[in-house]
């Protein structure tokens, strides 16, 4: 990610507010089609809109539709805008069903230049993406030019105003240890598919992630030397225990015999880095890629301390 992008990412992930935001509580908004303008800046909507639900999304965006399904999307409405001698603009308005999942799908792709629309927004190569309330919005211009960039921004501003109030971010973010907050990309997810996209752990779902679990994958450090912390919340402590056991058995079966002090859940992996895993109440935490045993243990202690305080 470009350095400038961190400013907004940090702002979003630490609960900062943007000037355009409304402080009112999240409420359900109008039907999606009504949230999109019929025209703006000389662009006119090109009927008909298209709406996709469930597996229908694969007809629209192929296998990448799995991303939105992994965040429980309810529907997406697609509207195209045309203007003579200008690049076509397409809006995808996703009703994600909840602010958590709108936020989550936004964190799936954190590349881009910070933009001040909605509760978090990024722009890259003609593509503006933002979230607000339970909606995730993608606005895409076929060709990038100064005029289209301005048009995309104007359209985004209008849609952000139309979708209504802000929604809460996942409270799980508040349970991240301080040194993993705002230090690098932070993704909110439910699905092992999404986890493996950002950080491949295992082909098998060792951590038992599913629709009932919430997870945050936070990173810090430069690419190539990045440390990761995965925090998962399960519906019950028993489920967390099962997941921890599954992970220890499948990923670090050698953990109990590794390291000078034979600490359970701590192991030096084949690349010379350290992985640490533990359970606390209904949470499981895994630290990946620590440079040293001491660093892994420190990250574990920090995470444990945070969980006990929140």
């Amino acid at each position: 990610m470009k350095p400038a992008a961190w400013a907004l990412t940090v702002l979003v992930l630490t609960g900062g507010r943007l000037p355009s935001m409304s402080p009112t509580p999240f409420q359900a908004a109008s039907p999606p089609g009504a949230l999109l303008p019929a025209d703006f800046l000389g662009y006119k909507a090109e009927p008909p809109d298209q709406t996709y639900e469930g597996e229908g999304i694969f007809d629209y965006i192929d296998g990448a539709g799995e991303v939105y399904r992994a965040y429980n999307y309810k529907s997406v409405i697609v509207r195209r805008y045309k203007k003579p001698a200008a690049a076509e603009i397409t809006v995808d308005l996703f009703d994600m069903g909840s602010p958590k999942d709108a936020f989550g799908v936004f964190t799936h792709d954190l590349e881009g230049e910070p933009w001040s629309i909605g509760q978090g927004s990024l722009y890259k190569s003609g593509l503006l993406q933002f979230w607000r309330g339970r909606y995730f919005v993608s606005i895409y211009a076929e060709n990038e030019a100064a005029e289209t960039k301005a048009a995309v921004s104007e359209l985004g501003t209008r849609i952000a105003a139309a979708v209504g109030a802000d929604g809460p971010r996942p409270d799980l973010l508040d349970r991240l240890p301080d040194d993993f907050r705002g230090a690098g990309p932070v993704r909110y997810l439910h699905s092992p598919v999404i986890l493996n996209y950002h950080f491949f752990v295992s082909r098998e779902n060792l951590l038992r992630l599913d629709g009932t679990t919430e997870a945050v994958l936070a990173a810090k450090g430069e690419k190539g030397a990045r440390r990761y912390l995965l925090l998962v919340r399960y519906p019950t402590p028993e489920k967390a225990r099962e997941a921890e056991r599954g992970f220890l058995a499948g990923y670090i079966p050698d953990a109990q015999t590794a390291g000078a002090r034979r600490v359970e859940g701590l192991v030096r992996t084949e690349d010379g880095r350290w992985t640490a895993a533990f359970k606390e109440n209904a949470y499981v935490v895994v630290v990946f890629n620590a440079a040293t045993e001491a660093e892994a243990e420190a990250a574990r202690e920090a995470a444990l301390s945070k969980l006990r305080r929140t």
Binding site: E66, V193, F200, S202, E204, G250, T269, E270
Partner: protein, 308 residues
Amino acid sequence: MANKRFTRRDFLRTAAVVPFANAIGCCCTGNKLVPVPDNNGARLTQISRLSKVVLVRDAKAVGEGRAHNAEIIQKMLDDAVTALLGEEDPVAAWKLLVKPTDMVGIKTNAWNFLPTGPAIEGAIKRRVMDAGVPEDRIGIKDRGVLNDPIFQQATVLINARPARVHYWSGMGSCIKNYIMFVPKPSEYHGDACADLATIWSLPAVKGKTKLNILSLLTPQYHNVGPRGFNESYLWPYQGIIVGQDPVAVDSTGYRIIQAKRREVFGEDRPLETAAHHIALADTRHNLGHSDPADIDLVQLGWMDGLLI
């Protein structure tokens, strides 16, 4: 799923031993002859084990509005298959691939924005029928192959799809096209679809694929975000790659996509998702050859903008 509990640590163990990352896009070109033992263990003199791949192009294959010229595409396919199999007559060549008693599944790609298309599908079907397979023993399908009676009983598969950058796998090409042969494709999305090649060892597929056809009529060389399609990132390459080794076919197509990206961006800009599943299909799963040094590339037809 084969080798289901494959973890990051298995990957790290492999990476420590096998330097596979250079298998795609390395500077090696040309043919390589490799000595192999005969049945008695004696070493033979140099024998080729190259994967033969044919790239055929015609400047008029695709016209305005991406309209496919079925007649030209039929000729391109015929030229490619005859060159691949060393036959002069296309029907004779196809008779090396299918026999009248076969049940033939043509695995296509039906995605709305950039499908394989009826011209290629029709050209394949016509030659399969010319080779003696009755029409009612031929199926053309993408989604739903697992529940399709012809694909369930197929003795031969012909694999045909367009080349394009892909969100999960970096490159959508022939290896990736078999993702519909598994009940839950998302299980293969981890680590940029690193282990897609394992699908090729599943019973519905294993040993059945006689021909891979990668359409580069209008390939897509770039993408932004999860959105899969953008007309402005297509270009009329007007080509088809044909081979029996899906890895060699994909590797060749990938090199063309990379070359196009270098031409457009003026640098080696990495794909949003690494297409390492092609190299891993070779180095980890032994499905075929990804190194250009192991590929015998035959080029036919239009040569402008060849990029390879």
